[in-house]
């Protein structure tokens, strides 16, 4: 007898591009990592611990991208994170002094002091500077199901005609995952949910079982998915493609209508880094005159510059209400879908970038906690069952056949975000580098020693240049200077290696210095770019 009680799966993609600049004493963009550790990853783990302690069952699929794993396990960056926290605690103390006696703002300075002090205590003492192990712990306990994604979050559809580039992204990712967690993942997160027909063959070749595609890509698939977005579809290569739920997407992603836009939540943009005297902020901004400090005292309020002060307790209450509303809407959807799906369990798939919770939407972790708590209450009013994707597939192994259409979750829904007058120059170089890397694997099939080292570094540089994040930043204009330099540096490094190999020379000192700087994927084997038989 088929069980058709509806399911819901939450998926969090934790990812940052690789930014590590040991040649600088401080590098502003390394703070991207530090901010999300403090605001998203540590609070997530804190919530997981609390739920476990209270015996509240929860399930979540989590992606820890290979670049993020590389940074979280890097000694230098972990040391710098502690320095960052010390600096933030110092700024919080200054803020407490500056705001002493102010009934509205002093408590907010206290909040940041407590947040950064707690982060330091947990990161250093509780986790021993290794939060990857903490995620692994919850994975082994069965609370979270870990997935991987492309090695450097490349937007795969723009490399569809260079199969070796696709394989290199997948294979390097699987090795990175295995090195950290001791086993291969079953699920593969498509960077930017970028899918193209044919990708499934590559995923299948690495024994991956499932992935997630956009609603649009799935609905435009061939044939139309029998159960709409309420069931994964099975591709010809036997990869299950789960389908992102459009309603769940809108509720949270929408910058204009989504929950995070509510007036009581903390405003992301209004930061003392842009309000206070630069000389006061100078010791805390890594040599940058203006930038985000993380100290934000104002609520979203509305479309006005005249913001209201942030009230954490009101925002917390709202986050709980939003969790209830979110679930209520999903229940309505589930009931409607169940009406048509008598023979199988409808599933609502809710994938988000992890950093949306806590970093952008400051109260997002409270929302998630309320979501899990409410889900754990068994009553007739809540027909939904929280599952991981593997659990769903093991209970529903047979899925309707369909091939999703070329698609992504970026603006436009296809490849528009990566093919724009501001960033389309990138592909000329990254695709050429990937093709030349393939050529090198043929020219140098069995190298060892110095030549193997240089070939491995060449492979790292190609992967780094392929990161989809840089092209997005070029398009948005934010951090575009850094993005352009990152791409050019990797392409330059690759081209230099290519020329050295052609001239049968190796600049050992240069290579050693580069290996130390761009030390991602220490186990790299350049054959990941080799043509597959």
């Amino acid at each position: 007898m088929a069980n058709n009680s509806p399911s819901i799966a939450l998926v969090l993609n934790a990812h940052l591009p690789f930014v590590r600049k040991p040649q600088y004493r401080q590098f502003y963009e390394e703070r991207w990592l530090f901010e999300v550790i403090s605001e998203t990853y540590l609070p997530l783990l804190r919530m997981f611990r609390k739920l476990e302690l209270e015996n509240i069952p929860f399930r979540v699929n989590m992606v820890l991208s290979p670049t993020l794993l590389a940074m979280l396990s890097d000694e230098l960056l972990c040391e710098r994170y502690i320095e960052y926290l010390d600096n933030q605690i110092e700024l919080a103390q200054k803020e407490r002094r500056r705001l002493a006696g102010d009934p509205v703002f002093e408590p907010l300075a206290d909040l940041y002091f407590a947040m950064y002090s707690r982060s330091r205590e947990e990161f250093e003492d509780l986790y021993g500077r290794n939060i990857i192990r903490a995620f692994d712990y919850f994975s082994k306990k069965g609370y979270i199901e870990l997935m991987t994604t492309a090695a450097t979050h490349a937007f795969l559809p723009t490399y569809s005609d260079i199969p070796e580039a696709i394989d290199a992204q997948i294979e390097s990712a699987i090795i990175a995952h295995r090195m950290e967690f001791g086993k291969n993942p079953s699920g593969f997160w498509l960077p930017q949910l970028g899918w193209y027909p044919g990708l499934e063959k590559h995923l299948r070749a690495y024994n991956l079982k499932y992935t997630i595609v956009t609603t649009k890509g799935a609905l435009l698939g061939s044939p139309s998915p029998f159960y709409g977005s309420f069931s994964p579809v099975m591709t010809a290569s036997h990869i299950a493609a789960f389908i992102r739920d459009a309603g769940a997407t809108k509720a949270i992603w929408s910058e204009t209508e989504g929950y995070p836009a509510h007036s009581v939540y903390r405003d992301f943009y209004r930061d003392i880094g842009y309000d206070l005297d630069p000389s006061y902020l100078a010791p805390h901004l890594y040599g940058v005159e203006r930038g985000y400090t993380g100290f934000k005292y104002w609520a979203v309020t509305g479309k006005t510059d005249n913001k209201r002060p942030y009230e954490p307790s009101a925002a917390s209450a709202q986050a709980i209400m939003h969790a209830h509303a979110y679930l209520s809407d999903r229940k309505v959807q589930a009931r409607a879908a169940s009406y048509w799906m008598k023979d199988r369990s409808p599933i609502i798939v809710c994938p988000y970038d992890a950093e949306l919770f806590g970093h952008w939407w400051f109260e997002g972790i409270q929302f998630l906690e309320a979501f899990f708590r409410t889900m754990s209450r068994k009553d007739e009013e809540n027909p939904l069952r929280l599952v991981t994707m593997s659990e769903y597939l093991s209970e529903n192994p047979s899925c309707p056949r369909s091939e999703p259409e070329f698609s992504s979750w970026a603006e436009g829904g296809y490849a528009e975000a990566w093919l724009d007058g501001r960033n389309d120059w990138v592909l000329r170089h990254t695709r050429r580098a990937a093709e030349r890397m393939r050529e090198l694997t043929i020219r140098f099939p069995n190298e060892s020693g110095l030549r193997e080292r240089i070939l491995n570094q060449a492979a790292r540089e190609v992967l780094l240049a392929m990161s989809s994040d840089w092209a997005l930043l070029l398009r948005s204009g934010k951090s575009a200077d850094l993005a352009a330099k990152q791409i050019r540096e990797s392409i330059y490094n690759f081209n230099h290696i290519y020329e050295m190999l052609s001239a049968h020379t190796v600049e050992t000192e240069w290579l050693t210095s580069l290996e130390k700087r761009n030390n991602i994927f220490p186990y790299m084997n350049y054959h990941v770019f080799a043509p597959k038989k």
């Binding site: 435009l220 029998f226 204009t256 040599g287 436009g412 000329r428 050429r432 997005l472």
Partner: protein
């Protein structure tokens, strides 16, 4: 769609695009105003598609909130503008646009630039239905061009692009691109779909995502922008 991309189109292509977008174009309308009209119509068309335009690009910007240009930071490394090879690549952008880029080896380039009076460089876009192209059209480009956004007539069909030199009514192919298959734009709602699927597609958001092909009298713009 932006003015930069549109400026790459010929006058004729702009007029065809405007026609497909149901924009009235008076005789003699200057090119710059035609581009403005297309952009305006396009923005009108997308402004009410709020449902899914809030794409994760927004979060990427927040997650990676940066500082802009910091003078002197990071070495300004230069890389070649192009590679001394002759090739052309085609990449799908969306159901109706291909992004093509190419290089021409210096020796070939010099040879034809010397004959610029009599030689023209062109892109020949062909529908790749089998072994032989079945339909094609040309876009004339200059020797300084190295990329082009190409508007193709039909989603769900395959195309390839030849980089050609035309001289004295003879056309020589310098390079041929990979074949690209254009994605579909609209749901194929045929009467064969069972009621359960039709209902679940609606519940899945097919209408809000504008995946239903508009009727003739209310035709949508040529480029769909609803992301997710």
């Amino acid at each position: 769609m932006n003015p930069e991309i549109l400026s790459l189109l010929s006058d004729e292509e702009l007029r065809t695009l405007a026609e497909k977008m149901n924009i009235y174009v008076p005789e003699g309308l200057e090119r710059i105003f035609l581009i403005e009209e297309i952009i305006d119509a396009y923005e009108d068309d997308t402004s009410d598609k709020v449902y899914s335009h809030d794409a994760p690009d927004h979060l990427e910007e927040k997650k990676l909130a940066g500082t802009g240009f910091i003078p002197g930071r990071l070495e300004d490394i230069s890389i070649p503008d192009y590679y001394n090879e002759t090739y052309i690549n085609a990449i799908v952008r969306d159901p109706l646009w291909i992004f093509a880029f190419w290089d021409i080896a210096d020796s070939t380039r010099q040879k034809y630039i010397g004959e610029a009076e009599t030689s023209r460089l062109l892109l020949r876009i062909s529908e790749a239905t089998g072994f032989e192209p079945s339909f094609s059209y040309d876009i004339v480009v200059s020797f300084d061009d190295r990329k082009w956004y190409i508007n193709v007539p039909h989603p769900k069909r395959s195309y390839m692009i030849d980089l050609c030199i035309a001289k004295c009514h003879k056309v020589r192919i310098l390079a041929r691109s990979n074949i690209v298959r254009m994605p579909s734009q609209y749901l194929d709602i045929s009467s064969k779909l069972p009621q359960v699927t039709r209902s679940l597609l609606v519940l899945s958001g097919s209408e809000e995502l504008h995946l239903i092909e508009p009727k003739e009298e209310n035709s949508l713009r040529i480029m769909s922008m609803e992301g997710e």
